[in-house]
Symmetry: C2
Subunit: 129 residues, 2 copies
DNA sequence: CAGGATCCGGGCGGATACTG
DNA sequence: CAGTATCCGCCCGGATCCTG
């Protein structure tokens, strides 16, 4: 797992959840993977899709994703350099998670990063107590 | 968002993914939420479910989850103290994500935290290139 | 274009001690 | 039981400069 961001998990039932999260957390990984769902992207293309990421971090996260086998890095021997990133077969399998995240985010989060409905709102709306 | 672990996200398409992840990352949150799927738990019950977490971290993460409206904290005025944590209505809505994570983890990760099949394996198995 | 190298501060998170 | 308080090391991640 590259550098083991989560130090370690001694397994209890929820272990695989932890492990799964371990692969897609890391501040930018999920967003990167999400954008790669649309297809292959070059380095600076990803940067443009995620303006807030620094090139250092982008390189880092891409390296870790590659080390974890989630993405594939293809280098073209030419100048100026051209490097393409795409989801590996394993990476493709996390699509359900990403779309679930996206769906949930779209549903429950405003554009400001704040939950748009509070627990109380939802209580009144859907759940009968 | 409590203390804004992810500083901020200036929104591009994948923003809501980032935002969603922002709520469930934080080293232990996903596991905590996952265990709360089974129902209400007391503080030390959660600790026992997640041996690797320290009480400091557990308190932290619980506070953040509460601030984000994902869990509910119920304090019983009695001694010795009794505090129960449970998923809020909003928290319940992330169940699909958690189960997706669990499913993916169970499927693709061994008990050691390493992906059990490499990209190459999967390539040979399913995808024709 | 796609990075590598270095410097550096902030905060995440562990360990320990104390409390209502 | 369910925390709070404090100290502190580590490394995450930003900023900047350099390269094939």
């Amino acid at each position: 797992m590259a550098k083991a961001h989560h130090t370690r998990f001694d397994c209890s039932p929820g272990c695989s959840v932890e492990a799964a999260i371990g692969l897609i957390d890391g501040k930018w990984k999920s967003v990167i993977l999400f954008h790669l769902l649309d297809g292959t992207l070059r380095f600076n293309e990803i940067r443009r899709q995620i303006p807030a990421v620094t090139q250092r971090m982008l390189t880092n996260q891409l390296r870790e994703l590659e080390a974890d086998g989630l993405i594939t890095r293809k280098v073209y021997a030419q100048v100026p350099p051209k490097v393409e990133y795409s989801l590996s077969p394993l990476g493709l399998t996390i699509k359900p998670i990403l779309t679930a995240l996206k769906a949930w985010g779209d549903e429950n989060i405003g554009l400001y990063g704040k939950p748009k409905q509070t627990a109380t709102d939802l209580q009144a709306a859907s759940i009968p107590a």
